[in-house]
């Protein structure tokens, strides 16, 4: 209910190199460390591009207007809502989804994911990819956050099932074990 943390909303950086051909554009970017080159309608969101053009299904669509955080991905090192970014905007940039985080962990779950697993942190699981991406980004920038910082850092991701406690507790346990 409280005002959620304002995430980096749509970056207005326009990419002059984006070729627009009759409502289509060609977008080249790095997706989970892999070069992607795709022709896509220029008016679709990054979320749509990932899910429906590239088959990357971990970002979910819960609201399509930036309220719920289920579509959280990392764009150039910042966690953002992919429903608020237009596909052409990622041209020449780096996008990391949950699949990319697992790829970095050699195709396995990341250690943080293991903590979420063992803590039974999620229920329906729909918000899980977004929350794991947001938490990963948070810990990347601040490896030893306080409980308050974790709460603040995850406040942009809605979960209706868990009451958040088992999610926050998993992050805290993970940090404790790290230090």
């Amino acid at each position: 209910m409280k005002k959620t943390k304002t995430k980096t909303k749509t970056k207005t950086k326009t990419t002059t190199t984006t070729k627009e051909v009759a409502n289509k554009c060609s977008v080249q970017f790095l997706l989970n460390d892999q070069k992607v080159s795709i022709e896509a309608p220029s008016n679709i969101t990054l979320l749509d591009l990932l899910r429906n053009q590239l088959g990357v299904k971990s970002p979910k669509c819960g609201c399509d207007v930036g309220d719920c955080g289920a579509c959280t991905v990392i764009l150039d090192g910042e966690s953002i809502r992919s429903c608020l970014v237009l596909a052409p905007e990622v041209h020449g940039r780096k996008v990391v989804t949950l699949e990319g985080i697992m790829k970095k962990s050699e195709g396995e779950m990341s250690e943080l994911q293991r903590y979420f697993l063992n803590k039974n942190s999620f229920q329906c699981g729909f918000c899980a990819p977004g929350i794991i991406v947001a938490a990963t980004d948070l810990l990347e920038k601040n490896p030893h956050p306080t409980r308050e910082e974790i709460v603040e850092g995850l406040s942009g991701n809605l979960c209706r099932c868990t009451g958040y406690t088992p999610i926050i507790d998993a992050v805290i346990d993970y940090i404790k074990q790290k230090s």
């Binding site: 409280k2 979910k60 819960g62 609201c63 229920q123 603040e152």
Partner: protein, 802 residues
Amino acid sequence: MEFSFIGKPAVRLDGKEKVTAAARYVDDLDFGANLLYAAVVESPHAYATIKSIDTSKAEKAPGVVKVITGKDFPYKFGMYMQDRYIFAQEKVRFVGEQVAAVIACDAISAERAAKLVKVNYDVLKPVLKVEEALTIEGCNHSTSEPILIHPELKNYEHVPWFFPRPESNIAHIRKIRTGDMDKGWAEADHIFTDTYTVPRYAHCAIEVHAAVGLYDFSGRLTLWTASQSPHTQRHLFAEALAPLGVAHKDVRVITPFVGGGFGGKAGVSMEILAAALATTVRGNPVKVLWNRAQEFYNTYQRQGVLAQIKVGVKNDGTIIALEQNLYWDAGAYVEYGANVVNAAGLSASGPYRIPNLKIDSYCVYTNLPPGGPYRGFGYSEFLFGLESHFAEIAKKLKIDQIEFRRKNCIIEGDRLAYGGKMNPNGLQEAIERVASEIKWGEEEKTTTKAHAKNIRTGKGISLFWKAPAMPPNASSSAFIKFNEDGSINILVSAMEIGQGFLTVMAQIAAEILSIPIEKIRVETPDTDRNPYEWQTVASHITWGTGSAVLKAAEDMREQIFCLIERALGKERKDLYLKAEGVRSHSDETFHLLYKDFVISGIPMEDGTFRGGPILGRGSFMPEYTSAKSNPETGQGGKPNVHYTVGAAGIVIEVDTDTGKVTIPKVVMAVDAGRVLNPDLVKGQITGGVLQGLATALYEDMRFDDKGRLLNPSFTDYKIPTTLDIPQEIVPVMLEVPGHDGPFGARGIGEHTMIPIAPMLANAIEDALGIRIKSLPLTAEKIALHFQLHSHKLIANDNHSSL
């Protein structure tokens, strides 16, 4: 009892799939290049007659395959009462109701074309409040006759336990009459009356409703739905589309993971569109995907209620009589919601012993979106008034709140409102545990801004109860099959909606068959492959489906013993299952592992084999229930299988300037009968408490004077974030086993939300001396009440005008 798997906090079976995003939800599935998309033409009016529909422009729009209107599907459907059409026929009855649909090659073309469908309406005056829908004594209403929303009500088919009032807006009245009211009022030393109101709420699962239908050229209709009710959906699709020649065996419903349900994905709502539309474009799958706004206004909503309560008590606090009129704003169609009204009526005494009862629970049609099931199924709504009212009575009689509840709480063997006897339960223990956990009677020191002048602390409690609301013949079934390595697959058709039931089913089978949980797979259902389950609602899965799984596992055990006896001559009575195999009490050396015989059979000396794949089956129906009762008294049946009970307490701090509530502590004690997985029970408590707090503090649906929902988004309908959680939630799990259910277990999922609103209202009263009688208890409302109260501008018992 010593258990190996029951009562242990196992890691969720679906945990890995969910933390790795391997879990697939309907909209994650790929349907190929010929997938079509549907967009719905919605009514802009709450009540209107459809004069004409012009689809010609839309049909010519780019990408459009077909435009469908009510003329194409003049078929009714409904869960408990068939009062709904697939598309609106002559009339629309709520803003957002589907009037037509456009099927196109892509979603954007479908949406664009839907805007080109021209519908001409004769706008009628809508009925937006229960007070406008019928005459209610003591409420303001105009003197003119209420406008009828369903003049055809008398012709609607419904279950035998509904009692509609044709020529009115009353779709059903559940009446309860026990004892002697006149005597009750005469014996009472005091009579207290009051009115409480609860608005509508939205489920807000993060996954929106999604359905894909495919009607192939062989006549097979397959649906992929985000649903809590695959078999019920199959049944309702087959019923509704029977005129097209569709039969049950031709309909297949596949339900992958569901991103949250809370009742919102029970029964059939928008999924009927995917089923119907698919039949018009044979061979092409059609996707219907709701957006967040549609999720708010065209699925089920939690019904609002106006509760008039009259209570007679003795000087010592003994409750002697209760009269309660519940007027439910059930919306435009009550095919499901009428049963919420029914369930609430049966249990509106709350978990209290009250000898004289008169309850009238009215299901009232209005021109707002259809009401329906939401976690708590009516109990959260009536309990707000009842527990608030009891707290007021205790206060006025100067009786301690805990003492008042100790004295009046229902105990085993007490007579229930409809005549049965209360099941064994831990309610008294729950009260004591909660009182001790929140240090009832002790002054609370403010934890933040200690001693600040504008911070007041308060404590509140509420009891709760709930029975599964089900038809008397709601049933569950299970298959279990062995694999070559001795692992098993459990096939059931309950839905994994977050509660963790897959894990619990595995624990039940593990306990009987002595197989580790890691070697058990339980998946979400496909009605072609998995046996029947009524629906994943009513918190009945652990109990009902769990009973079926238990029976299936016992069936396997029986088959194994029979086989060993027949093939190896071992005495059956000596055999038992241990460590993934069979052992014998009389022969310590005997240990035959499952993997060595459950598929391949037992080799005999002559080279032949005995046995064959072992398959377990289990069915469960509570054969002791009946919905048959006297419509005027509610007596004579046994509609509820049992009640799960508990108590909850809260410690709050309120800022008197802003009305802002902070919550240092919530305690919830629930009697689970048997805790099968404490981690999952705890999950239900932490989740249910926060969902409950949100409905109590800030959520509610706002409609304008034309019946339009004003806040159909998470921007305007705020649900809690990590910043809104209580500082501490203490779960207390009690175990008074039931006579049935796996190991005595009962459901607890919905219950954790039920006591939250009255508990909070009671704590606010304790902190500030103000009684707020309408939800939600927003900061604004609290601050205004407090200002008025402290300036003595309103009498303490006359706050309801705010």
